[in-house]
């Protein structure tokens, strides 16, 4: 049944520190709401367990992109549109800019935030494979201060993260060391915008003297959490791209992922698609990849 607004409380204290002290005072009681593109859908369906919400939409402390020599810090409250219009994100982190352009329609991109995508923790989320490939770190903040954690061990199980009840994600940090990589993203689904992916891939690699010097491959919708395919990467590293490697890459990919059957697709379809996506990436790399 549809939720009645009288049964919910929503406050907007305005500044980050006011929000954090509210979260600290009544731990686990207040649910942050940023762009609301996940929360409001649950709310509309009458499935939102929380009754007290605190708005973090448009908090200035969360909505800026800071550029340092060694990294870029994207505020967790930045929207997909913010990411798409930022020059450096597009230039140095094309996998993230791509994912942003694939996430729902324009209205959704004007509201949905990167922090919301991370904490909503869907295995199908579009921006999360890119964060794995870029080895993103998260700055988490609470009334007690900040801690910095790698995204790769933040997302621990199906829709579970290491975020403490009194914490917010403040920013997503991406190291600026990928300019010599060839980047490649693909979303396989019924249509590109506005649809949950059956499988999505973010990958980048560097060729040197004809061999794959370094490679990072991550996928969504192939496991309970967004997955970096470490074993597949190892099986490809320091090898030339030839027919044997493509075969091996398909096999290791299929063995490494843990896809399921669901309403959007079947496990065996996903395994076949995942293998093909990695092979397709390697082929593109061998023809268009930068030679370093």
């Amino acid at each position: 049944m549809r939720a009645h607004p009288a049964n919910y409380e929503l406050v907007a204290p305005g500044g980050l520190s006011a929000v954090l002290s509210l979260l600290a005072k009544e731990r686990g009681v207040w649910l942050p709401i940023a762009g609301g593109t996940d929360v409001m859908v649950e709310y509309a369906a009458g499935k939102l367990p929380a009754r007290k919400l605190v708005s973090i939409w448009n908090l200035p402390e969360l909505r800026r992109i800071e550029v340092f020599p060694g990294e870029i810090r994207i505020g967790a409250g930045c929207t997909y549109t913010d990411l798409r219009v930022h020059d450096m994100v597009g230039r140095e982190f094309p996998l993230l800019a791509n994912a942003a352009s694939w996430t729902g329609g324009i209205a959704n991109q004007n509201r949905g935030t990167i922090g919301g995508n991370i904490v909503n923790a869907s295995p199908a989320a579009d921006s999360l494979p890119a964060l794995l490939v870029y080895e993103a770190e998260l700055i988490l903040v609470s009334a007690n201060g900040e801690r910095r954690v790698p995204y790769s061990n933040f997302h621990v199980a199906y829709r579970k993260t290491r975020l403490a009840p009194d914490e917010l994600i403040r920013a997503v940090c991406l190291p600026r060391c990928f300019s010599r990589y060839y980047a490649h993203a693909r979303k396989v689904g019924p249509r590109k915008a506005q649809a949950i992916a059956k499988v999505c891939l973010a990958a980048q690699a560097r060729l040197e003297n004809g061999v794959v010097e370094d490679i990072r491959v991550a996928m969504g919708s192939v496991a309970p959490v967004p997955l970096r395919l470490v074993r597949t990467e190892d099986s490809i590293k320091r090898k030339p791209i030839d027919a044997a490697l493509l075969r091996l890459a398909r096999q290791t990919t299929a063995a490494e992922i843990q896809p399921i059957d669901d309403i959007r697709s079947t496990a065996s379809y996903r395994a076949a698609v995942a293998g093909n996506l990695v092979a397709e990436f390697l082929q593109a790399l061998s023809t268009r990849g930068m030679q370093g």
């Binding site: 607004p5 409380e9 409001m40 509309a44 729902g104 329609g105 959704n108 509201r111």
Partner: protein, 165 residues
């Protein structure tokens, strides 16, 4: 504000809608869509899916296209909202609306207010969009009637007629 989550109380929320400052009494979690339709009586904004998928509830909030069904009204406090009723003030809209009429871009009309607002938002950012950009700009707006081709043609024509100027 009441402590009991079972009965929160209403807030006084001021916003500027179609150029007029209005104050409504509303629960903070009331959807902007419901406030616009019920409290302000602006029925041009439609409810299709109620979950962000269809775009028929589109409005411009601080100049940006949003789905009003996903916005708790407290988050729209002090913002500037343009609905389809107020879009004429935007010079682009009459050209876009005329092109929709001529090109069969509207049939039952449920999606049309959202389509027009999405088209205006697109043309403001990209005065001469490619077909691909038109498709992308309208990809969050579903239409059960036209099959989209007429809508895309209408937006292309509006751009040609200089809707953006």
């Amino acid at each position: 504000m009441s402590e009991s989550p079972d009965e929160s109380s209403k807030w006084e929320i001021t916003l500027t809608v179609n150029g007029k400052r209005v104050t409504v009494q509303a629960y903070a979690m009331e959807r902007l869509l419901d406030v616009v339709r019920n409290d302000l009586g602006l029925k041009g904004t439609k409810e299709g899916c109620g979950e962000g998928e269809c775009g028929s509830c589109s409005v411009l909030m601080d100049g940006v296209l949003v789905n009003s069904c996903l916005i708790p009204v407290l988050q729209a406090k002090d913002s500037t909202i343009i609905t389809i009723e107020g879009v004429q003030a935007d010079g682009r809209a009459p050209v876009v609306q005329q092109a929709f009429l001529e090109y069969g871009g509207a049939q039952c009309g449920i999606c049309t207010p959202g389509m027009i607002l999405a088209a205006c938002h697109l043309l403001q950012k990209k005065p001469q969009p490619t077909i691909e950009e038109i498709r992308e700009g309208l990809s969050g707006n579903l239409c059960r009637c036209t099959g989209y081709l007429q809508i895309i043609e209408a937006v292309k024509e509006a751009a040609r007629r200089g809707a953006a100027t």
